[in-house]
Symmetry: C2
Subunit: 359 residues, 2 copies
């Protein structure tokens, strides 16, 4: 049940909506571009399907459409940015650019962001580094949905990490993954199909193992990468914690269970220790370590060796991080982006509400 | 079947052995201290049990006992160190100190190391940052034992990541973990006990699932954190790859399947693209982001909130990364370090060979 739309049509519609809530023209374009990058790369859960979610955050005054982004602390290779409660879709590219500019002079740049909102997919921000012959890093904390090992409480978000590394003739290496066994979007797909999850994805409210894809709605939790202690869930918990601390404690944002929830109807936590949600970005100039040419030659050799590895019968070849997303993007730029009818309906409601013609 | 030794006795013996293979006095002391930190923190597989392994690498001329450590490339916040084929136990603290010194002036410091050897446990290097009110990061690539998702070939090491983060009144947060479901040391323990592994730890030579703890000796492989694709092994594979690239491609060391094996009797790979093995270190000065005081106050609150989380029945409380190791260290400094009789035998052989009195 999909309807196909061109990238340009969805971009223009999204930009128009961001203009209607009061974003300046440049911000509206940037927010639409960041949002749509998720649809292009096949991360449908984080793209235009979330447009109405961002609008609702603006409606309840949790998103400021005209933020003044400011560096509030810095050193030659670091900065803290106050996102002024603006869209993460706008503050993230701003902060990543600060990291890149720092890297130009200091070799590397590291920027922690406070007082922000959800920033779309992490990978697209990390990838800003590539055209500068830099390695890019992006992470963010997020609404608490994940129970640390042994906990019944949800204390961490899915806290993704993205790392983009330039290559030479081969496409760039782009890793972008939630620090949970499975991202929330995958649960939603199984719910729609009325199917159970594999073991190790979720737990019930009392912490017992579960395969119910609707477990989050019943007080259950997502599990850190690894699933349970025997399979290394303490490692996923550590990774999610590091993302939380780099994103929010270095910047002065909210952390752990105090991260503001994405759904606007969910009440804000009490006694919040910081401002908004937090992100963390890094840029490392390749030639601050060795020549970009020699680095890329070795990256090409790394990629080819892994691509050509002998594989398990019936499994196809080893996938290089970022390959599948790049292929989806190529396809969708040409053939358009398919949206579920529920998403289309949602966008039509926005169209009516804001009197913006739909695609 | 354990014999108990004091830290000082094992330290002095290890230092004497390093002196006998020709290390300068300061290096011998540093190598012994780094090595023994693993025993103190309960990572028995990486401590004095490996002393004879390092000696054998020296015997086959793969370890240089009198290296000249050099910075061969740098920027305000970065450096590449050539470890001159020296012990990683010595080059790692050197490189971490370079990162810390860079952070003092530039806010952060990032050092990639080529031409090195195994460096003991990652955590102890990351922890050097703590006394400077910095966050410390350490990683290394290692002998290829891990099959990326879908591969039957072993292309990555267990490639650990350590992150040490200072707190205020609470003990520091110290994460230190292999990017596999289980570290090799845990397999060895199960082999000794003649027990199977849980699912998702290893695969057989043809890539089929296995629970045989001796699988590595039969051409099988360790699995990336996650175990299989359905449980997120592609994420463990991405993490291990990032460690490999930061450690070895940024520095010009060997990567992937070309990393020199730790056992001296295993032949070196052909057509090695770089020099030795690679490490990567980072230091971030807290007050390059915000005051150390405010950061530590929030870290204390983070730690207490997680410690006090409601937990699954029968599971004890949520563990803060580094807590168990700190407790083991406290205990072992007072009560001594227990060694298996096979390890004691190994040390006695070294004692005879080098005419160094044993403990």
């Amino acid at each position: 049940m999909e309807e196909i739309f061109s990238y340009n049509a969805l971009f223009n519609f999204s930009k128009d909506i961001f203009l209607k809530i009061g974003c300046p023209d440049a911000d509206a374009g940037l927010a639409a571009k960041t949002l749509l990058s998720a649809d292009l790369r096949g991360v449908d859960s984080h793209g235009v399907a979330r447009l109405s979610g961002y609008v609702r955050l603006w409606e309840v005054k949790r998103v400021n459409a005209t933020p003044v982004l400011k560096i509030i602390h810095e050193s030659p290779s670091t900065a803290v940015v106050d996102a002024d409660a603006g869209l993460g879709l706008v503050s993230a590219p701003f902060a990543m650019q600060v990291a890149i500019d720092k890297a130009k002079s200091a070799g590397t740049g590291w920027v922690s962001v406070q007082n922000s909102n959800h920033f779309g997919i992490a990978g697209i921000h990390a990838m800003m580094a590539l055209e500068n012959d830099m390695i890019g890093i992006a992470m963010t904390n997020a609404s608490p949905l994940v129970a640390p090992t042994f906990s019944t409480e949800r204390l961490l978000g899915t806290n993704p990490i993205a790392v983009a590394i330039p290559a030479g003739d081969e496409p760039a290496f782009v890793a972008d993954f939630a620090t949970t066994t499975a991202a929330n979007g995958k649960l939603e797909i199984l719910q729609r199909k009325n199917k159970p999850t594999p073991e190790g994805w979720v737990q019930a409210k009392d912490g017992s193992p579960s395969t119910d894809a609707a477990e989050l709605k019943q007080g259950g939790a997502l599990l850190p990468l690894g699933g349970d202690r025997e399979h290394g869930s303490h490692k996923g918990y550590m990774l999610g914690s590091i993302v939380d601390i780099f994103s929010a404690i270095l910047s002065g944002a909210n952390y752990g269970p105090w991260v503001p929830p994405f759904p606007a109807y969910v009440a804000m936590p009490e006694n919040m220790p910081g401002k908004g949600i937090g992100h963390f970005f890094g840029a490392m100039r390749i030639d601050a370590f060795r020549t970009a040419e020699s680095f890329k030659k070795d990256m090409d050799q790394w990629i080819r060796r892994f691509k050509n590895a002998e594989t398990v019968a019936g499994k196809g070849r080893v996938i290089i991080p970022g390959e599948p997303e790049a292929e989806i993007e190529k396809n969708r730029r040409t053939n358009g982006i398919g949206l579920l009818s529920s998403v289309v309906e949602d966008l039509r409601s926005l169209s009516e509400k804001f009197e913006v013609p739909f695609c």
